[in-house]
């Protein structure tokens, strides 16, 4: 009896222990699971971001064209008959396109119908026609089949209905209302497709062209050049300034109140919100120094000050990792302190300093807010050619397009984002490779 009760108590205790250890094991599992869950959540957000941007960017890389018979009649283009470039440039190319479309759709006779028909073709097609004629003046008097760029609405229509008209019947008119085409225009587009006049090709103009109000003509060429110019200014300022400051602080400075001030400033600047640098640029560079508004010069200066702390911190870490024995050996051979640094320590630290510089430049490349403050948000259609001309940069272009109401700009924004991200990936890969190639373990 006693034996039984005794064993009963033990098993009871064991049971209690068991349930407690089970609870502890469950807690352990939950804890571990929530850690893994958090990690998965963060990576899923990253994946969602990339997928949603890549998916929307894809349509930008090709564009739809329509083949139209154009009669290059001499009486429209060159009434004088002299074939001078000036008079050819002033010719009425809009009329050529209108006539060409009228040949394809003779049944559209009223003015409003013709206007709707003409609106299917991009404004850019007219300019391109002029360029082509200026290049090859002997086209005048001939009839040729010419590929004309479609307007953004027509382009969107073909992109959303790549198969054919049969899907239209059950899609209903409502699903297409947001594109901005009416039933007549859709019928014309379908008839053009049925005649085999619609084709698509790679959109290389997107990489070359400047900004435009017409989505089908807008490109990132201008913003890309603007980014390069701005980054050049940033690099030329921040590399010598940051490198110099790092060498001074790490190799020459004595510990005193002055160097303390510098250290505190650098550490604080690293955490100042970027928009505050924009305010500084507006108040000092534009209003006190009188730099030109919207120009890569002012933008580059602001970004240089912004990246300076990152660069100084990275460069100091690189200098610090050069072992003291190198310095001592050089000193023992009779080198002066400056020679020690410039002939030995600095070259050894250079890969590390450059890696830090590239990472700082990558940050500057993606920065938008301070540039808004100094007016780099203007609509600029021309590709900038100098540091003092108004320009825009890639992230600002993304910001501007994201704000545009035309639906076709969504794809443009996503594509510009992809280009910016690709640019950043290349820079960061460069930094990683540089580090891999030159990294030394002392």
């Amino acid at each position: 009896m006693t034996e039984k009760s005794c064993s009963g108590g033990a098993s009871h205790r064991a049971l209690k222990l068991n349930s407690r250890s089970r609870r502890r094991r469950i807690t352990e599992k939950i804890f571990r699971g929530s850690g893994a869950g958090a990690l998965v959540l963060a990576l899923a957000a990253l994946a969602l971001l990339f997928i949603s941007i890549v998916g929307r960017a894809a349509p930008v890389f090709f564009q739809y064209f329509v083949r139209v018979p154009i009669e290059f009649s001499a009486d429209v283009l060159d009434p004088g008959g002299a074939r001078l470039a000036a008079s050819l440039a002033a010719g009425d190319y809009t009329a050529l396109v209108r006539r060409g479309l009228a040949v394809l759709f003779p049944e559209v006779a009223d003015r409003s119908g013709r206007r709707k028909l003409f609106r299917l073709v991009s404004d850019g097609a007219v300019f391109e026609l002029r360029e082509r004629v200026l290049e090859e003046p002997d086209w005048i008097g001939q009839q040729r089949e010419i590929q004309l760029l479609l307007s953004d609405e027509a382009d969107l229509y073909f992109k959303s209905k790549p198969r054919g008209a049969d899907s239209l019947a059950h899609a209903g008119p409502n699903s297409l209302a947001h594109i901005g085409l009416d039933a007549d225009q859709i019928a014309w587009l379908e008839s053009l497709r049925a005649q085999g006049r619609v084709s698509r090709s790679l959109n290389l103009a997107f990489f070359r062209a400047g900004d435009s109000r017409e989505p089908e003509l807008a490109g990132i060429g201008g913003a890309f050049v603007g980014s390069l110019l701005t980054l050049a200014v940033t690099f030329l300022l921040s590399f010598p300034l940051g490198g110099g400051a790092a060498i001074y602080l790490e190799e020459f400075a004595r510990k005193n109140r002055f160097t303390d001030w510098i250290e505190v400033s650098i550490n604080n600047l690293a955490a100042v919100p970027s928009i505050v640098f924009g305010l500084l640029g507006l108040a000092i560079f534009l209003n006190v120094f009188g730099m030109p508004r919207s120009a890569p010069l002012a933008g580059g200066c602001v970004l240089a000050l912004m990246t300076l702390p990152t660069l100084v911190i990275a460069a100091r870490a690189a200098l610090l990792s050069v072992p003291g024995s190198v310095r001592e050996a050089a000193l023992a051979l009779g080198a002066s302190p400056v020679q020690v640094v410039m002939h030995h320590v600095f070259p050894l630290a250079l890969p590390g300093i450059l890696t830090g510089t590239i990472i700082g430049m990558a940050r500057a490349l993606g920065e938008t807010a301070p540039l808004l403050m100094i007016g780099m948000v203007a609509f600029i259609a021309d590709i900038p050619r100098s540091l003092s001309e108004p320009a825009t940069v890639l992230p600002v272009q993304i910001f501007l397009w994201a704000d545009s109401p035309e639906r076709a700009f969504v794809a443009k924004t996503a594509a510009a984002t992809l280009v910016l991200l690709a640019f950043l990936v290349v820079m960061n890969l460069g930094a990683v490779l540089l580090r891999k190639k030159f990294e030394r373990r002392w």
Binding site: E28, L46, A245, I247, P273, I275, L308, G366, G375, F399
Partner: protein, 311 residues
Amino acid sequence: MKPLRSRRSRLLERLFVATLAATSVVAVLTTLGIVLSLVFEALRFFSRVPVSEFLFGLHWSPQTALRGDQIAASGSFGAVPLFTGTLLITAVAMSVAVPVGLFSAIYLSEYAGDRLRTFAKPLLEILAGIPTVVYGFFAALVVAPLVRDLGRACGLDVASESALAAGLVMGIMIIPFVSSLSDDVISAVPQALREGSYALGATSAETIARVVVPAALPGIVGSVLLAVSRAVGETMIVVMAAGLAANLTFNPLAAVTTVTVQIVTLLVGDQEFDSAKTLAAFALGLVLFSVTLLLNILALHSVRRYRERYD
């Protein structure tokens, strides 16, 4: 042997070091430039609008009139709705970033194997390298409509530029700021503390929750403070995904505006430089600068205390 040349080269070397010292002064000058330009322009603003109205006023509508006799010609500059808006969006962002960042850091430093670590850590860092304008586009294009539709499905009235959407995306952006610094401080907790806890029979979870995290707490607090400072100063996400209307509300489903959004809207576009509207941007900038500076000092102090404890 040739004292003349040696003296000249010594002079050159001095000059060289002096040049280096001059480059390092640029950082001090920049700080000084920021403080002076902000304070100077803010003082000009406060000569037109009293400080108390700016700091405690409940109404923000800075539209300066075109004609002097127009109604509300002066605009009103009570910045409290901007402060609460910033606070609201920051709170949403931190409620995403702190749990996700902290748990990822714990998982990576305490549970994950080397292979997962070398693969997942750089991926998390990518989140910090993506330009904020891309996050803004993502917020406006994907997250805001998603939040709105989800809210509608639950029968809630969600503004299309809700604080929730902007805050969520900002939280994603902040995750690596919390996770990488927390990871560093958690890894720096002495191994002996963990082993002592295991020897007493504690499980990994108990060791982490009762020993490692409390030991690393000052460092973790520091990293969270840095992340808050980052969220407060973030501009592009809120410019693109949060609203412009200065609503005084703590409802995350409503549209609010922030200090940075208002700085951008006040200064983008052409306007004369000495209107109260433009100067208000500098007053807001001064507040922003002071708050982030304070947060950073607190954060650095907290991290330093942690380092002193274990170094």
